[in-house]
């Protein structure tokens, strides 16, 4: 979509809202992607940090 006329923001970014409250659920501890998730969480790493290692 094109930029509407008259729209402007600092550094071209504007936060206008927040995300709705999450639901707590249980992940199934199965599969390679979960194990990667568990590894990140245990070492408090972010996605990009995890990729560098």
């Amino acid at each position: 979509p094109s930029l509407p006329a008259g729209w402007s923001a600092e550094k071209d970014f504007k936060a206008v809202g927040t995300v709705s409250a999450p639901t707590q659920r249980n992940l199934e501890p199965v599969g390679p992607h979960f194990l990667a998730h568990a590894r990140r969480k245990r070492h408090h790493r972010t996605f990009s940090e995890d990729e560098r290692i």
Binding site: P1, S2, L3, P4, W7, A9, K11, D12, F13, K14, A15, V16, G17, T18, V19, S20, A21, P22, T23, Q24, R25, N26, L27, E28, P29, V30, G31, P32, H33, F34, L35, H37, A38, R39, R40, K41, R42, T46, F47
Partner: protein, 567 residues
């Protein structure tokens, strides 16, 4: 304990699916593909049956055959008794084998398992240990290497006491249980681990149709991670229900000719059950199946055939119960059949072609029905759980025991999932469209990357990140054009008929996205014509967002963060 600490590399793990009716063992082969191992009798689905004659132990198919002559010393259908109180069990499946009895706080069987005259009381835990020991032995013999550990599949409604009892029984059989995983998730993993599979966000229904019970679950797959949204169970529905239809059909035929009911005689019934099950299974493969039993009742031999059409006619009601279970679990998850991307049929009874075909009618055409009769690349439904377990076993067998425990427990429960989808709003003229980037029920933290085409003429691009909600839009067919028809047609009677038929046309239902609330707005300036804009959204566990947008191949990116909502 000392043996565990001095080297996890020596661990050799397999996947086991342990069922009431049958069990399977699986292992990843040299090419990294999951493979179900046959036991020394050549069975991949090994009946969960143990039988004793003169102190000798029989297992699997051999033990199952003993249900006819040696039913009192044959133990079957014991999985669901493990770790349970005697009062809470349903002894019906054991009617034709050794009966469960109360023994202190657990369930036991009184069987002659030695050469001695008097029967022994053997607990269900001990029976499970002996069964697992035999499975372990079969796997070790086949692989030529001592199996020491396993990942075992369990139903989603297995209580903690049942899990503990299973682990204790496995340990007693010399198996270290690396992890107990849920049967439906093992089935999803078995499909997702195929090399041709692509990790996508999807909602999957797993219909696990077993021998004496059936389970259904809705699993949300988000970025390769699985969350169970709802489960439904039917403890009376399964292959045995269908066997009974086949048995009754043949018994009635026999009665017509010979005036005695073979079901009234215990041995006759046992023979009918064994052969009836084989006939029912044959009807899943062929359109015709025979049944022949020597000396069924009163010393009369019996032989007959049944075709699939007849069988499907007789089983119509039971088939509807299976599809009803699937329907029920979708509703329980608060979803619509339109939301479901895949239906995975697992369990032995899923071989029945008609059940998958009936499911095909419930779901929209876009839903994949993964069963042998509806999907060419389908994996054998009986092998899904053991394959999933084998894949998981290979993933974690190198881990330290502590690592596995730490990864499994606190991590799982403490995961927030998105309530609504997050995506981008597209406005073109009047219509507002929404493209979801992170779907609802995505576990956090998560990130997604997407590319969107920029407007043809290029220039500045405006991105509006929103929360979206899916709604089901019901469009009723418009009655208007039908009324015009009779006016054109001179023949009234005929056209009346036509319009009646037209009115029966079903309403169309479709998914539409509605943007709920805006989250952030971004602008990428000076985008070249025909170029694409790349957007990355990263959602933290605390619901804070990082958003990055840039032109593909471009240098400068627009970045921003949205703060977490204040609790």
């Amino acid at each position: 304990m000392s043996s565990e600490t001095n080297g996890t590399a020596e661990r050799f793990a397999i996947g086991i699916s342990f069922g009431n009716s049958s069990s399977s063992i699986a292992r990843l082969n040299a090419e990294g593909k999951a493979e179900v191992i046959a036991n020394e009798e050549g069975d991949r689905q090994i009946p969960s049956v143990l039988s004793y004659i003169d102190g000798e132990e029989y297992h699997g198919t051999q033990a199952k055959a003993q249900l006819i002559r040696n039913s009192k010393n044959t133990v079957a259908y014991f999985r669901d008794y493990l770790g349970k109180d005697f009062k809470s069990i349903d002894p019906t499946p054991c009617h034709n084998s050794a009966h469960p009895q109360q023994s202190d706080s657990t369930v036991a069987f009184s069987i002659n398992d030695t050469t001695a005259e008097t029967p022994n009381t053997v607990t269900v835990s001990e029976i499970t240990t002996r069964h697992l020991r035999r499975l372990k032995q079969s796997a070790s013999d086949f692989l030529g290497k001592q199996v020491t550990a396993a990942v075992i599949t369990v139903p989603t409604d297995f209580k903690d006491a049942q899990r503990e009892a299973l682990i204790a029984s496995a340990n007693a059989a010399g198996l270290e249980v690396l992890q107990l995983i849920h049967e439906p998730v093992a089935a999803v993993l078995a499909y997702d681990a195929r090399p041709e599979a692509v990790v996508t966000d999807k909602l999957v229904v797993v219909a696990d149709l077993g021998g004496t019970r059936s389970d259904a679950a809705v699993v949300a797959c988000r970025g390769g991670m699985y969350t169970i949204l709802a489960t439904a169970h039917d403890y009376e529905l399964g292959g045995a229900t269908l066997d009974k239809i086949v048995i009754d059909h043949f018994a009635k035929e026999f009665m017509k000719k010979h005036k005695t009911d073979p079901r009234e005689n215990a041995r006759g019934l046992a023979k009918l059950k064994l052969e009836g099950e084989a006939t029912r299974k044959a009807l899943s493969l062929g359109t015709n199946a025979t049944l022949s039993i020597e000396s069924l009742a009163d010393g009369i031999d019996y032989g007959s055939t049944v075709n699939r059409t007849r069988y499907e006619l007789l089983s119509g009601k039971v088939f509807a119960q299976f599809t009803g279970l699937i329907d029920q679990v979708v509703k329980k998850a608060g979803l619509d059949v339109l939301d479901i991307d895949e239906v995975i049929f697992a369990g032995g009874t899923s071989h029945t072609p008609k059940i998958a075909q009936l499911a095909r009618n419930i779901f929209p055409e876009t839903t994949k029905i993964l069963a042998p009769s509806t999907f060419v690349g389908a994996i054998n439904p009986s092998e899904l759980a053991p394959r999933g377990a084998a894949i998981q076993a290979s993933l974690i067998q190198e881990f330290e025991k502590e690592d596995i425990e730490q990864s499994i427990h606190p991590m799982v429960t403490a995961t927030p999932h998105l309530q609504n989808a997050i995506g981008v709003e597209f406005t073109s003229g009047e219509t507002v469209d929404f493209k979801s980037l992170l779907n609802a029920e995505t576990a956090l933290p998560a990130r997604r990357l997407a590319q969107f085409p920029a407007p043809k003429e290029g220039g500045d691009v405006f991105i509006r990140v929103c929360e979206g909600v899916r709604e089901i839009k019901v469009t009723k067919p418009e009655p208007k054009p039908k009324e015009e028809k009779p006016a054109k047609d001179d023949d009234e009677d005929d056209s009346d008929f036509d319009s009646d038929e037209d009115e029966e046309e079903e309403e169309t239902r479709e998914i539409v996205w509605k943007t709920e609330k805006p989250i952030a707005e971004l602008a990428v300036k000076g985008v070249k014509a025909g170029s694409k804009v790349e957007l990355m959204i990263h959602v933290n566990a605390d619901l804070g967002l990082q958003i990055t947008a840039k032109e593909v191949g471009g240098q400068s990116a627009v970045r921003g963060a949205v703060e977490a909502p204040k609790a």
